[in-house]
């Protein structure tokens, strides 16, 4: 059996704080993504999901320290930091950033900006690059003639698709996306999600989707990982996370999300996430959890299997009622 396209093993990220302390932003995150699958990483702001995928691209600031392994086709690319990641960046693993649609250079044509990474990474140049650009624009649903347009001549949704085309410039096999549809209208969002699903189904891309929007994950992703305080607390096939929820935080997140068809009360989760500049004992969610017992305060729960490919980090995972 072939190894997963992308495998992350025990990833940790620390940030230096101005007061001399450190912030433990990502605390031992592990997951794997196969070709043609889509993993949604969800959690509240500050849970570490964006930091995690920035670490996979090696795009962390100088104040960051990382440890762990990031395996592309079984080879650890994080081993020596920038040195080992740079050759893979954009060619094997690429990213669509949050607000990418606003990050275009306003004085360069779209086509030229998509060619740029190709030439930078020695992937293609000249006429070959130009024809690749046409192909990419078609793939993302933009008329190839628009390559001559400037960013301000395209709408928000089209710019987001152009950003996806730019990420695909060097034919990566793994695509990371940080809140790709947050600033978009629901109809345009549907178009972009349809595109991303197509890229993964038809072109075999492995997709990692960071978002705070659970319904998007439910409808678009094959698998999901719920993050809290820098850790993954539940992970598995999306259907299982909804129909067989095994972590109280996941259940509360579903309960906090209104649904067009559902009629029940929408709940909020009291309290705030813990600070990450101190070592936590016990379960980080215990102070806000309605199932918390004394064991939860003293003993940190590890991620354990609770079903087929489904893990949860909770002492009482079997007592958690399903969201459905």
């Amino acid at each position: 059996m072939s190894p997963p396209l992308l495998e992350v093993d025990d990833l940790h990220v620390w940030f230096d704080l101005p007061n001399g302390r450190k912030l433990h932003a990502v605390q031992g995150v592990s997951f794997a993504v196969d070709a043609g699958t889509r993993l949604g990483m969800v959690g509240e702001s500050g849970c570490g999901k964006t930091t995690t995928i920035l670490a996979l691209m090696g795009l962390l600031p100088p104040t960051a320290s990382v440890s762990g392994r990031v395996l592309l086709d079984g080879v650890d690319v994080l081993e020596r930091g920038e040195e080992t990641i740079a050759p893979h960046r954009w060619k094997d693993i690429a990213m669509v950033f949050q607000g990418a649609m606003n990050a275009f250079d306003p004085v360069k044509r779209i086509g030229d900006q998509i060619v740029e990474p190709m030439e930078l990474h020695g992937h293609a140049s000249g006429a070959e690059a130009a024809s690749r650009v046409s192909g990419l624009l078609e793939t993302v649903g933009i008329a190839p003639e628009r390559a001559k347009s400037y960013p301000h001549e395209l709408s928000g949704g089209m710019r987001q698709r152009a950003a996806i085309a730019m990420a695909l410039a060097c034919s990566p096999r793994v695509l990371l996306a940080d809140e790709p549809t947050t600033a978009l209208d629901v109809m345009v969002q549907a178009q972009v999600l349809e595109l991303l699903t197509y890229l993964s189904n038809e072109l075999g891309l492995a997709l990692v989707f960071v978002t705070h929007d659970l319904p998007i994950v439910a409808q678009t992703c094959t698998h999901a990982a719920v993050m809290y305080a820098g850790r993954i607390v539940e992970q598995g096939p999306t259907e299982a996370l909804y129909h067989e929820t095994r972590h109280p935080y996941t259940r509360m997140l579903w309960a906090a999300t209104p649904d067009l068809d559902a009629h029940e009360e929408v709940l909020s989760i009291p309290g705030v996430p813990p600070r990450l500049d101190a070592e936590l004992h016990g379960c980080p969610f215990a102070p806000r959890c309605d199932l918390a017992a004394s064991r939860c305060v003293s003993e940190r729960p590890e991620l354990r299997s609770v079903g087929n490919g489904h893990t949860s980090a909770c002492h009482f995972s079997s007592s958690v009622g399903a969201a459905a």
Partner: protein, 334 residues
Amino acid sequence: MSGSDGNGRALLQVDDLVVRYPIPRGLSGAVLRRERRFVHAVSGVSLHVDRGEMVALVGESGCGKTTTAQAILRLVDSDSGSVSFDGVDVTGISQSDLRELRRRMQIIYQDPYESLDPRFRVSTTVAEPLVIHGIGSRSERRGRVNYALEQVGLAPAELFVDRFPHELSGGQRQRVAIAASLVLGPELLVADEPVSMLDVSVRAGILGILDELRDQGLAVLMITHDLSTAARFADRICVMYLGRIVEEGPTRRVIEDPRHPYTKALLSVVPRRDPRHRTDVQILRGETPNPIAVPAGCRFHPRCPIAVDACREVDPELRTLAGERDHRAACILA
């Protein structure tokens, strides 16, 4: 329980509101006598909100929902149409009458991180409306501030009055903004995307406050692009497209039996929580056209999946649907 006042009159009544912005022609345009072009932000919107009722104004960006709200509050000037508040037409009133009116209509903004002056403590921010209108002595104001803070769940108030915004979370800041709008005892609250910038775990708390206020008799006009939130909290929904309301009615009627093709498409693409959910997803091609170049006939016809020839010529009115009481749609095929 919603209700108009004794005369059967809604608290807020908007009729045929039109707001358009001229696009500057420039010197060459004026000399060459080029036709003046306008951004047709709002092209004839009529709606009403009763006391104790929450109406959701939903639509995508560029549909004119925010401009409508601003015109209602007289933060922008309308070109024609009327806005009546408690029976009085407010579109042409004087500045001093407007100031009086501002006490009865309040607005909450989308961005809780920008809504509060970073240099003001919570007590100063919440007391500001009272100071502006010269209401109450210092101790009276303090009492009203504390009461408003407790109304929004920031209790005990003493714990929050001296804090600065940077010491509060996003949800807490939005609560302060709501408290500041409540302290004058308004009758109408316009909430512009009140929770879209907050984490999903805190949204219910904020929406719950608006829910409570509505139960206590406040009229709430909520602007949102999130249909799921509108479906859960609003009594009625008005769907806007390119400056017009294309469908409106009681929430459950619009959600369960949408009649306008735009509403149907919109509802079909809203993601549901259940991964096993299957609908006929109707993804419309292209994007909402520019409000400068509004299509002739029905403004939706270029993207409409069921458009017929007549749709290119007829601009449909918002009509009550057969067999329904309050459910209206602007479609000749509805």
